[in-house]
Symmetry: C2
DNA sequence: ACGAATATTAGACCGATCGTCTATAAATGC
DNA sequence: GCATTTATAGACGATCGGTCTAATATTCGT
């Protein structure tokens, strides 16, 4: 988080090499992702991000029209990051489908603990702040949840195909249930500074599924 | 919330009548409760509260040492308010215990809908903001959850006594599960502007209990 | 009854934050 | 080579959040 920025960031139009064309922009988005995951939108100031990345205001408003636009970029980046993470666990074909979900939970718990319970879920954070946020965020956030739900439902159907889950179970419904409760578990884990709520919720989820 | 304040609020030490001794302070706390329930701590400005109540800044800092102290007062008031609400539903001796929980859920859903999904749970809001909040809040918030958990566990034990719940069920554990997931459900309901997540979670909770 | 103590209102004040705007600098392209 | 493009630099103003001092009205002690 408090990365020292080595490259002094030369002024003027940069050389052509496409690689770091979006270097600065990327650094800003990545930092925004981390910061919003930690403190949410309202509590995060532009200047704070700027200082961490080592970029002056001029650059920020060159890449983003406003703080609101910056938030959208961070949401998109987080959604992509999380989708990859989700796939990594939920599509691991060498593990039983239900265990893959448990693996994801364990990984998430480890991740939260590794960041000392300061970071939660960017989508959850902004979701809870919705009343104080530009209305433009609502649909984007909800769309991310819908995406996660679809990925999880697919994994549950795989469990059904394996015979690990009763065929009459509504996978979409239980996938929805998972993400509804999961955000609460993340919130509580951060407050308690313990992964216990995450496992508490996951256990309950599997118990409910088991019938 | 946008109540016009009639009494012009005279200056100087007020006459003795004990009744409205805490009038101004109460109004501030009540408004703070509503506002924090809606927008959380970081996104709520003192000026905003002041304007709504019709009180100048000086009064605020007469009654509260800081915004932090104001937050503590709001938490305490909300905890008391919610405990009363919880008891009203969970101790209704004329209803089966499990139905009382369902009643609470229905009431909460109606309440959130009535406020147009702008208001959520003050404790959940601040819990999620914890990383950006004074550390002094952590224990208070967690204590409120512990209180709610105890009240719900008691109701679950009543269900066991009625024979509506298997005796081997760990009531404390499932009460913990409920509040973990419930906060997620509230967050999602607000985002979605629908009570569906609340019922989705409650149904899952009862399903899990049913085994 | 009068001055000291108390309770409350009033709002000035300072620093932080957000977003804009102009200037500067370095590369590209015709 | 000069106009154009791309990017950094950071001053600036408006606004707002939170603190603090002054002013005002009441009660209390003797």
């Amino acid at each position: 988080m408090t990365e020292i920025h080595t490259e002094p960031r030369r002024r003027g139009r940069p050389p052509k090499r496409q690689a770091d064309a979006f270097d600065t922009r990327d650094a800003l988005v990545r930092c925004g992702m981390a910061t919003l995951t930690e403190k949410g939108f309202s509590a995060t100031g532009i200047d704070e991000v700027l200082k961490k990345v080592g970029v002056p205001k001029g650059s920020f408003y060159h890449y983003f029209e406003s703080k609101e636009a910056f938030g959208h970029a961070a949401i998109a980046a987080y959604a992509a990051y999380f989708a990859r993470k989700l796939d990594r666990w939920l599509l691991a074909a060498d593990r039983p489908a239900l265990l893959r979900i448990a693996d994801f939970v364990d990984d998430a718990a480890a991740g939260i603990a590794r960041h000392d319970f300061r970071r939660g879920c960017l989508i959850g954070n902004l979701g809870q702040e919705m009343s104080a946020l530009p209305e433009s965020y609502r649909d984007r956030l909800e769309a991310v949840f819908a995406d996660w739900q679809a990925r999880l439902a697919r994994c549950l159907r795989a469990a059904q195909a394996e015979g690990a889950l009763a065929p009459e179970i509504d996978c979409e419904h239980w996938a929805a249930f998972f993400w509804v409760g999961w955000e609460g578990a993340v919130l509580r884990a951060r407050l308690k500074r313990s992964v216990e709520p995450l496992h508490c919720f996951a256990d309950g989820f599997f118990t409910a599924l088991g019938r």
